[in-house]
Symmetry: C2
Subunit: 486 residues, 2 copies
């Protein structure tokens, strides 16, 4: 029996009117997932039904002995009880009572208990509910005010356009956490676990059609129907970027996948090549995923790979040259003779380099502004990157003046980028590590950049080069698809 599309429209999963939490506890163990508390803290606007025969009340909410005793229909039932008990609950629930069972519990497919999974799926089909998981964290939805981790209330008032779907619960939690502090604004996130029923393909298709979502990030270990995934992706990527982080790309990784979500990972190289052809950006770690989501949330710049880079310090220009030119799709073009003349006129003769990367030495705001304008006029340059170290703020004496400097840099960059009509990215570095002041300066800069929508990239030069290589790859793909449809 096919899922009833009316009863199972995924938007009701992300924006439920009622949520039951089977396995809620009035005395939850430390570190235990407490979905009821998350809902309360996030200001969930629908009905919350804790379910547990042991308690009368959980967090001042009436607690029900069973799912069927909950009054009225339940859009989402979160199941956080041992695996056999999950199945029992779903056996007992009347048909039509619930729309979605989000099965948090692990210990199904990943440790060879296929029988329980098969029965759950059968129950879902028979009673008309869909299953997310098992072995998953469930749903984050900014508009739905529902979440899967204790900190997510911090971002529930911040609208965003990022959609993220992850087979791994840990990666879902960590990607959202890592993203939320660095300006990735999530709209919806889902941890899918074993994909017994609701699959990555279904979610990607849904997010592709969801106008609230402008970029889709995916962590996946196994895709059941790769061909279908590619078909769906091809429909989306010309207008909306998709970033895929694929786990289980090596033999060792595949073994770990098998034991993690029970999925079978296939031939990686072939699939990865097919994904690239479908305009999907492929990454291999969470840091890169978060950087890409930040730079690809709308409205985003999509420059080609011809970069001009300002990196003070001769050693830096060498390192930047080496690392950026080693990445496909990127080049650091020679500047035109007249641009070089302009730069020469703006800089002292010694200890600077007016080639690309450009070492401007220790330069003030006003000169930097002129340098960037001069380079911005070059037709052969798609984007300008400027190295900024948090350590730089230690040259400024008071906290007030540091804040002013950061404000001035941000405002200046916004205006400059608008006026030259090209994106300006900050390569954000922190030379001194584990240093209280410099940590604080970094947070000060990042906070302001997020507030002012200044695009920035953290990590090493190598990390940054990867980011710009992917942006250029996607720019090329989008240009080719436009040319085809024109």
């Amino acid at each position: 029996m096919e899922p009833d599309s009316k009863n199972t429209d995924l938007i009701r999963l992300f924006e439920p009117q009622s949520v039951a939490h089977v396995g809620a506890s009035a005395r939850p163990a430390a570190g235990r997932f407490n979905f009821t508390e998350y809902l309360v803290n996030m200001g969930f606007r629908g009905k919350i039904f804790p379910v547990n025969p042991k308690y009368k009340e959980v967090l001042e909410l009436t607690c029900y002995p069973s799912l069927e005793s909950v009054p009225g229909p339940v859009d989402v039932a979160i199941l956080a009880v041992p695996a056999p008990r999950c199945v029992q609950v779903l056996r007992e629930v009347p048909a039509g009572k619930i729309r979605f069972a989000v099965v948090h519990t692990s210990g199904f497919g990943e440790i060879d208990k296929g029988d329980l999974e098969a029965e759950m799926l059968q129950l879902g089909r028979a009673k008309g509910f869909r299953i997310v998981g098992p072995n998953c964290m469930g749903i984050y939805s900014q508009r739905g005010r529902i979440g899967f981790w204790q900190n997510q209330w911090e971002i529930v008032d911040t609208p965003g356009a990022v959609g993220f779907a992850s087979q791994s619960g840990g990666h879902a939690v960590n990607t959202v956490m890592r993203g939320m502090d660095s300006g990735v604004h999530f709209n919806k996130a889902i941890s899918l676990g074993n994909q017994l029923d609701v699959s990555i393909n279904e979610i990607v298709e849904f997010m592709g059609n969801d106008e609230a979502i402008g970029v889709i990030g995916i962590y996946v270990e196994g895709i059941r129907d790769g061909r279908r995934f590619l078909e769906i992706a091809k429909q989306i990527t010309p207008r909306k970027p998709i970033v895929v982080w694929k786990g289980g790309t090596t033999e060792e990784g595949k073994q770990a996948v098998l034991s993690h979500t029970g999925a079978m990972a296939g031939n990686e190289r072939v699939f990865e090549a097919a994904m690239r052809q479908a305009g999907v950006l492929v990454v291999d770690n969470m840091h890169l995923m978060v950087r890409m989501l930040r730079l690809l949330q709308p409205p985003f710049f999509l420059p080609g790979g011809r970069l001009a880079i300002f990196s003070p310090g001769g050693g830096n220009t060498v390192n930047v040259s080496d690392l950026f030119s080693a990445v496909p799709n990127l080049s650091l073009p020679r500047l035109a003779p007249e641009t070089m003349e302009t730069l020469k006129g703006l800089l002292p003769e010694e200890n600077v380099d007016i080639r690309n990367p450009i070492d401007p030495g220790a330069t003030g705001f006003l000169v930097m502004d002129k340098l960037v304008r001069a380079v911005g006029r070059e037709e052969g340059i798609d984007a300008i990157l400027i190295l900024l170290t948090a350590d730089y703020l230690s040259n400024i004496k008071s906290e007030e003046n540091r804040l002013l400097a950061v404000e001035r840099i941000s405002t200046g960059l916004s205006r400059l980028s608008r006026e030259i009509g090209k994106p300006i990215y900050i390569l954000m570095r922190q030379e001194r590590q584990n240093h209280e002041d410099i940590d604080r300066y970094r947070r000060m800069i990042v906070t302001k950049f997020i507030e002012k929508d200044i695009p920035w990239v953290d990590g090493s030069f190598k990390d940054a080069a990867e980011v710009f290589g992917l942006l250029a790859e996607y720019a090329g793909y989008v240009a080719r698809s436009k040319a085809r449809t024109a």
Copy 2:
């Protein structure tokens, strides 16, 4: 004329009894190098002679109008005046007055003023002084209490065994700064600039023979005599690790090198292969350099590449498997059946993975201790890696208890490592970024690890895998050289 070895023993460069600073200023511009101030702040024990005809006093020290008017001999004369003036100063200085000229000034070879460089070299040969630079920062020496950056007084009371030599001044400054906050204890560092006279080969040979130095890091853009470098390296690497970061490995990078230090970079692949054969570890960025120096300062562990990794979270085990098994020299061996039985007995059935990488779920100290002991007994495992996130401390309520937990983890790890007779490394991560509390927790953990000599690796899993790949490479090299000489 060959340099007079008696007059120019390099130890006098690193432990001078008198330093003159030509170009000292009583009113230094912000951001300008202030070598006199550095010497004062570092508690330099010899004589400090500021030289500048414009001032009578600099920082309450008598300021001299010229180098020749300084009383007595000068071990190190730092020259920070424009290039033509540098040559003039060296023309005027009497033979035998100075042992070393550290020429900070840039604008010599790197912008085609070969005449000035040639004359300086000639003057040095004729008058019996050696030249460091030009276009360099000079010397850091912990025992000599001399430095090249405003912050280096912070570490001058901390003995160390790390030697670092860099052609780039910026990389010298940043590597020392980055290192000093993360437990790299420097003994001597030198920025060599254009290597007009004192060369990287000479410094490496010196550091190779220097018993105070246990590991040598090098940033180099061009080696004049590569064959000689390899000969020297081969003498050192069987007993002391050398880590080389080579700039100018791409065509673009070579162009940048030419304009940075005027050096000619050669055929990289050939040279890199030769370096590896000579037991030299090759890195391509500063972060990796700092990680290697931290882990290779004596006394250090040198495990082979057969690793057991504890990484809570199924997604992490997949990612760790993928990234570590992609690195040459590394493997994550299957554990023996009896070890797996032991692990099974210690862990709950669900949501854990007892293969390698091992996902222990949320585990307390006592269970972790037992798990590590069980794995430590495996003969086929060279080292144990444990993932620890700074975020973990947010589960602990008071700052006092957090400190206690960190203390307990550190003490526990030390004892455990000693008892199982194998190194235990912490893979240090921070999931929430730009978060004041978690930044503080990270500093708290890192500070304790440095104090207790717990080996730790920061960065992504990919970064960590690179580190362990290099350690295993060097372990193999050392084992082979021992076998040859046995």
